[in-house]
């Protein structure tokens, strides 16, 4: 598989044999689920036969493996090498990171004008995941706490925002911090029981927590509207100017005297998201260099050593959970106001998995990596919307392939929080 290529010194016979085994296994896999198909009919279930599929699977895998074996390192390795040569991946040091960071920010500012409103819309979605990924990178990346239930805080933020906005009529800029605060308290609530847990156990408990929140959302009809969710969430306004059709002074188009276009609201949402993301990113950059940021990383490295130096693991872990949760809360608020409608369906475990993949694939220390990973995992599949069914299949496959290719993340050099000697050019 990717990453383990031996030079192509294998003889043809061995290549043939390996391909044969691969093909045979493919046939075995294909027989039950591809070869037979369950067919629903009035009389109940029956079977349909698709022998060609099985043959196709077997032959296809056989050929692919044969080609892979024969060409071995020459083609695939060459592709791997040339991709790795791209400067981004090679010896990615602080200078490059800064330059690319500013280039990306510049690009982000002009993005809506480079394409149509669909591009801006999709980019907004990517930005939401960048915010989520940045928040989770505090918990998983810096503090090393494996949280598989991050979506719970996302949901708490969204629902809290919706309920506050609809019940009290507060504006976006009031509801947002309140939702974040509420999510942060949930973070602390989650943090307490898991303080002594390590690694995979922590993962499962947080996963359970995410599911508990989702079940509560579905069943607590009075508060959350149950499976139907909450509708009619007020959309964001620009200092009170609404983005709707109309010529009056209360609408954006009317105020500026320009013809109405649905693109206005989408662009506005995009820049709103961009602002939030920039604040998030700068905040996290900053806090990494403060004692608490170093403490998170130290805790991840060796908790016992931390205790022996007087660091209190409890407060450090809880602060990581709380801060990470608050960013998810902000993202959730934005999500709620962008959609105008939320339901428990948007907050399943898959979301947690996607956000985690964004963080891990991005290389947990790297914010730029998170941007790239978000584009890869969220932006690209949007283009596959038409092939809805295969979208998730492709997503899962990409996840596996990328993590096998680069287990340490796409960009994984860790930036120092404090340097003694000024950085020499490398």
């Amino acid at each position: 598989m990717a990453g383990n290529y031996a030079p192509s010194t294998s003889s043809f016979a061995i290549a043939l044999r390996e391909a044969g085994i691969a093909g045979f296994v493919a046939v075995l896999l294909a027989v039950p689920l591809l070869g037979f198909r369950l067919v629903d009919s009035a009389q109940g279930l029956s079977l349909d036969y698709r022998v060609p599929w099985v043959i196709f699977a077997g032959v296809g895998v056989f050929c692919a493996r044969l080609i892979l074996n024969l060409t071995g390192s020459s083609i695939v390795g060459g592709v791997q090498r040339s991709v790795s040569q791209i400067a981004i991946f090679k010896r990615f040091n602080g200078d490059w990171e800064r330059i690319i960071g500013w280039v990306l920010i510049g690009l982000a500012f002009v993005l809506p004008f480079l394409g149509d409103r669909n591009l801006a819309d999709r980019a907004t979605l990517v930005l939401i995941y960048v915010m989520l990924g940045t928040g989770l990178s505090i918990v998983v990346g810096l503090a090393g706490l494996l949280d598989l239930g991050y979506v719970a805080f996302y949901a708490v933020g969204a629902y809290c925002y919706a309920i506050l906005a609809l019940t009290f009529g507060f504006s976006f800029w009031i509801c947002l911090p309140l939702a974040g605060l509420f999510a942060a308290s949930f973070g602390i609530l989650l943090g307490f029981p898991v303080l002594r847990l390590r690694g995979d156990y922590l993962a499962i408990v947080t996963l359970g927590f995410g599911e508990i929140v989702r079940i509560l959302l579905i069943n607590w009809q009075n508060l959350t509207g149950g499976p139907d969710g909450i509708i009619g969430i007020p959309r964001p306004t620009l200092f009170g100017l609404e983005f709707r059709i109309g010529d009056d002074a209360g609408s954006f188009a009317g105020f500026f005297g320009i013809p109405f276009s649905p693109a206005h609201r989408i662009f506005f949402l995009y820049y709103l998201a961009l602002t939030l993301v920039l604040i998030t990113v700068f905040f996290v950059q900053r806090i990494r260099r403060l004692p608490i940021g170093r403490a998170w990383e130290a805790l991840r490295e060796d908790e016992i050593a931390c205790r022996s130096l007087g660091l209190n693991p409890t407060t450090i872990k809880l602060s990581a959970f709380a801060l990470g949760a608050s960013f998810a809360g902000f993202a959730g608020s934005f999500f709620a106001t962008r959609q105008g409608f939320i339901s428990p369906e948007s907050f399943t475990f898959i979301e947690s998995a996607i956000i985690l993949a964004v963080v891990v694939l991005g290389g947990m220390g790297s914010l730029i990596g998170i941007v790239f990973a978000a584009i890869l995992l969220v932006g690209l599949p949007e283009w596959f919307r038409e092939l809805e069914q295969f979208r998730m299949l492709a997503f899962g496959t990409v996840m596996v392939l990328v993590v096998i290719w680069r287990p340490h993340g796409l960009l994984s050099k860790r930036a120092l929080s404090v340097r003694l000697n000024q950085q020499a050019s490398q």
Binding site: G208, I212, M392
Partner: protein
């Protein structure tokens, strides 16, 4: 009281299913220290393959029930085992030396692939099946509630016990089992002593997958309705069971499974069905706070 006993019976059957899946989790965790996130979906595949197997029996005209059951079991276990083997080979083996999170991401990706593969190849809708077993027998008809144990439930329990015995024998008395236990303790040393670690690990996955297939077989018979998503929830609960019983301990996994099944049955019966999963997770949290090594597990002591 009778109602309680009935729920007890229900809970035990459900628990047996969770226990079989939990064993797969615990074995894999014991030997390579990772949670096989895709294991729940292997169970789901086992359920689908069993369903297909039953329909195949109809088509082939095999109606003698014990024979049909045997054939479907073998069919399901064999093909599901291949899936288990393939997932390990493709998604986990390349990441053996990688940082801890990498195999987890790979596992999540594999889980997504499996779910969607089944969804695409078999259709997204729920699959109902005509019940194969009609027939229950009464245990007691006194009181205001008849306690019934269906033949199905008997089969489930008997099958589970037989499998437990077989696998315990396998682990303790065969050379493969020895190799497995050695690899669990110290992988490097085991390989230095001539144990084929790759094959042992693959074998563990295959064993786990076949047990999950049996669980899938049972659930197909028991509930008669399956869909491509059952793996996820069952997987989490089964992992909870494995942790509850003490991760790394096979009897612990079965014990944990039974407890989880009982908790779920009792909670549904006496409180509400909607929150039964919450009850199970709450159990997980409490166990991990107060007894992280589980009921039958050995506490891990970190040497300072």
């Amino acid at each position: 009281m009778d109602y309680f006993l009935q729920q007890l019976v229900n809970g035990i059957s459900l628990g047996a299913i969770y226990g079989l899946i939990a064993i797969g989790y615990t074995m894999v965790y014991g030997i390579i220290g990772m949670i096989n996130f895709a294991h729940g979906d292997i169970y789901m595949i086992g359920a689908f393959v069993s369903l297909i197997g039953f329909l195949l029996m109809n088509v082939l005209g095999i109606t003698y029930i014990p024979l049909a059951i045997l054939c479907v079991l073998v069919f399901a276990m064999a093909f599901t085992a291949v899936y288990g083997w393939t997932v390990e080979r493709l998604a986990y083996r390349p990441l053996r030396g990688a940082p801890r999170l990498a195999p987890l991401i790979s596992a999540i990706g594999a889980s997504i692939v499996l779910q969607n593969f089944v969804q695409i190849s078999q259709g997204a809708r729920v699959k109902p099946m005509q019940p194969i077993f009609q027939g229950t027998f009464s245990v007691s008809t006194g009181g205001n509630f008849d306690i019934t144990i269906s033949y199905l439930q008997v089969i489930v329990v008997v099958l589970t016990v037989l499998l437990m015995l077989a696998f315990t024998f396998l682990i303790t008395c065969t050379s493969f089992g020895r190799a497995q236990r050695a690899t669990e303790q110290d992988r490097m040393m085991a390989s230095l002593l001539g144990v084929n670690v790759d094959r042992t690990i693959s074998g563990t996955f295959v064993m786990g997958a076949s047990l999950a297939a049996v669980a899938g077989f049972m659930v197909t018979l028991y509930y008669g309705v399956i869909d491509f998503y059952i793996g996820f929830l069952a997987g989490i609960k089964a992992f909870t069971a494995a942790v509850l019983g003490g991760i790394g301990s096979i009897p612990g996994a079965m014990l944990g499974g039974l407890l989880i099944g009982l908790i779920e049955a009792m909670w549904s019966a006496y409180f509400s069905t909607a929150y039964k999963d919450v009850a199970v997770f709450a159990v997980l949290v409490l166990v991990l706070i107060f007894r992280p090594s589980g009921l039958l597990g050995r506490p891990e002591v970190e040497k300072v």
